[in-house]
Amino acid sequence: MEILAFEYRRAKSIRTTWITSLFVILAAAAFAYLGTFADDFDEGLDRIPTTDLVAGALLGNPIVIVLIASLGAMAFGHEYRYGTIRLTLTAFPGRVGVFFGKLFTTVALTLFVVALAAVAGYALLVLLGETASGGPSWATVAWQVAVFTLTYALLAFSLTLITRNHPLGIIGPLILFLLEQAVIGLLGARLEWLPSVLPLASMQSWFSGVDVALSAGVWAAWMVGLLLVGLVLLRRRDA
């Protein structure tokens, strides 16, 4: 699988990958620690459970969203921005193979970096003696963080591929996050079904255990749909 070797070298040979990954880790650790300063009035606990701190540092954190999106947007963003897509597609004329090679690399890279970030956050809490039991299980945190990471990485990946605009691919997922919140805030009371058809709201419903099958299905449909649009455009468009 030369495409994977190629993608591995592409990703590791630019400084942006390393810097962004480092920032994800630092941001997760910093926000996990900053979370210890918040009081948990609802639960009436002295300390916030460690799993809540780690999950809170990653899930819904706009800084982490932008950083994950940066990693997701790189796969095609740099290629279109600097014209190297023509070298890539000359070396690999089968565009479907290029698409899945980049998709696999993006998923693997973002999940790995976010896993490291979660470990870094936990390690910092342990070092500072800020651990507390309770809260969700580690397994729950793991799958929710994985889905959250995939969501923003794939949104960035697809948006960059569809628009061939690297900055839009990075900022697009954050805009979508804010836009969904605004739309739901404005129309959610009148259109009760609205949150159930939006990608990020569906993800939240899934995490909350509300209509799990439907929420997961809507989320997956959005992700697959956007990826398919990107794939079709990649195959048809001039490089």
């Binding site: 190629f6 040979s13 190297t84 000359t90 001039d238």
Partner: protein, 306 residues
């Protein structure tokens, strides 16, 4: 490896960039790909590589490129001197592309040395000059030692020594039984580099023949004859060759077309006219190219849109 481009066709809106273009590029020779600005050369190269969508098909040894197991071993292309990530070092750029064809690190170093990139191999290409960018692009193209080289204006920005080296290298590459297609505006360079030319204008094929045949077809191939009795000589030549064949070149010289030096000399001799000079003048590739493309050029300097 024979490269066969068949019925390549590409439009941008109502503009036809490449119009049902078919030609073959054969191994063992350097084929020049010539055409005026905007004639569709770069688009044709991209269509051949499958980078642009359009009609037609290009077969590489009888198969589309995507059916070959390793495309980098089939074709190495250099389309632009700026196709690199500005902060990825030249060496990392080449190693990344080497991974696409399982090319060894030793070969990467060999190519860096061959292209004279040793001193900049660790540097980021964002500060590269056009010439250095061309070298990196050429290094990319030859990295996997492909059967076919497709180069779009590779000499742009190169210094004279580098152009000389490029010419020798491409001739050597073709002499190994490989296929080389080079587009260029440097016609004097192509004249000494190319064995065969494909000439297009407005996306249409104008010529697909050897450089020699193209040049010999030119109407600027003629015979110059100089004589102190030029009026009498003109009358004699016109009588035997027709008025269209004889043109006054200077007060004491005539240009005679469609006749050999032997024939012109013989006519002068039979009429008892003294001859000071008798020279066969052969057109250059540039003259032949200009004749061929003068009606097919979309954009002319000083002429606006034709």
């Amino acid at each position: 490896m024979i490269v066969t481009a068949s019925n390549l066709h590409k439009t941008y809106g109502r503009t036809v960039a490449v119009n049902d273009l078919s030609f073959q590029v054969r191994p063992g020779q350097v084929t020049g790909f010539l055409g005026p600005n905007g004639s569709g050369k770069s688009t044709t190269l991209r269509l051949m590589l499958g980078l642009d969508s359009g009609r037609g098909v290009t077969l590489w040894d009888g198969k589309p490129l995507n059916l070959h197991a390793q495309a980098p071993k089939v074709v190495g292309a250099h389309l632009d001197a700026k196709f690199f990530h500005p902060s990825r070092s030249a060496r990392a750029h080449l190693r990344m592309l080497a991974a696409a064809s399982r090319t060894s690190r030793a070969r990467v170093e060999e190519v860096i040395s061959l292209m004279g990139l040793e001193s900049v191999a660790k540097k980021k290409p964002k500060g590269f000059s056009l010439g250095m960018g061309q070298r990196l692009g050429l290094a990319t193209a030859i990295l996997a030692e492909p059967e076919v080289l497709l180069l779009d204006e590779p000499a742009n920005g190169l210094d004279p020594q580098s152009i000389h080296w490029l010419r020798d290298y491409l001739k050597y590459y073709a002499s190994q039984g490989r296929t080389v297609l080079v587009s260029s505006h440097l016609l004097s360079e192509m004249e000494v580099m190319a064995d065969h030319v494909v000439v297009i204008a407005r996306g249409r094929l104008l010529a697909d023949e050897s450089v020699e045949d193209l040049v010999n077809r030119s109407t600027t191939n003629d015979v110059l004859i100089r004589s102190p009795r030029v009026d009498e000589l003109a009358a004699a030549l016109t009588e035997e060759l027709g008025p269209d064949a004889v043109r006054l070149e200077s007060p004491d010289a005539l240009a005679v077309s469609d006749a050999s030096t032997d024939r012109v000399g013989d006519i002068a001799f039979r009429h008892g006219l003294p001859v000071a000079e008798l020279t066969k003048r052969t057109a250059s590739l540039e003259q032949a190219f200009l004749e061929l493309t003068e009606s097919g050029q979309d954009f002319r300097i000083g002429g606006g849109v034709a």
